[in-house]
Symmetry: none
Subunit: 159 residues, 2 copies
């Protein structure tokens, strides 16, 4: 598997450390990245995290703006300026910086959420709410797609 999927919530220990789920660690290892690249998510109270794949994506996003353009400077600051590479200890744990924790409202437990090429780290309760909302949206969107497709079934209807 080369994608981040599923979600787990784990507790921070007294030193503020938290284990990265083993499944995610193996994806990171395959990606060939030492440590954990992360930054406060742009549009959510969560932490975006990943490895080389994530870094490459950000780079290409910024690269789409011409040098010295306003958009580029802003993106560069918001993404590069706030990102950090956390060290992963021998047991596969990291300690989130205060900046990251406060942005995501994290205190004593976190939810790891796979998003394919990257994953997010949420305060568990906030994640529950966000997930419920996202699921609802996708549900209605899927319903719309379904009704579109069903709009002309008569054409090939047999028997």
């Amino acid at each position: 598997m080369d994608r981040f999927v599923s979600n787990v919530t784990l507790r921070l220990d007294s030193k503020g450390r938290v284990s990265i789920p083993a499944a995610y660690r193996s994806v990171l290892a395959r990606d060939g990245f030492e440590g954990l690249y992360c930054y406060p998510a742009l549009d959510a109270p969560a932490v975006d995290a990943g490895g080389n794949a994530l870094m490459a994506e950000i780079e290409s996003l910024i690269g789409r703006y011409p040098p010295f353009s306003d958009g580029r400077e802003r993106f560069a600051m918001a993404l590069y300026g706030t990102s950090e590479t956390l060290k992963i200890d021998g047991e596969g744990r990291v300690s989130l910086s205060d900046a990251l924790k406060s942005h995501a409202g994290i205190t004593d437990a976190v939810a790891f959420v796979g998003l394919g090429h990257k994953f997010q780290i949420w305060e568990p309760e906030w994640f529950r709410r966000e997930l419920a909302e996202a699921t609802q949206r996708v549900r209605t969107l899927k319903a719309e797609l379904g009704s579109q497709a069903a709009a002309q079934p008569a054409l090939g209807a047999r028997e």
Copy 2:
């Protein structure tokens, strides 16, 4: 055969494991996927499951949104974030996570239901009800088609 068809209900053992029907296993093997990719069905109290074919479908759905767009993040969270790849043991069994079991109301037995490119896992009794309802709906739909055909028998009347 390269499609999931038919349905069987099997029991969970004391460890919460359940055998994947042999017919399904051979489809998965042909599909070339290690493990079982699955997630809570969006619009039913059941688990959607499959292999590469299913994953590709999800991926293409998400891929329709540009990176970092709001729609993409939501889709990714609702789909990737809730999906898991279960390990299949030497005897062809999996253990469903608590999240999946609770979404589908599964306790000590499950019904596997083939849907072509994927299959679903239901609580047996819930499946019976759903099936009865679905059958009823298909019946009325068919009846409507029949009356339509009868209205203009000359055109394309079949059967």
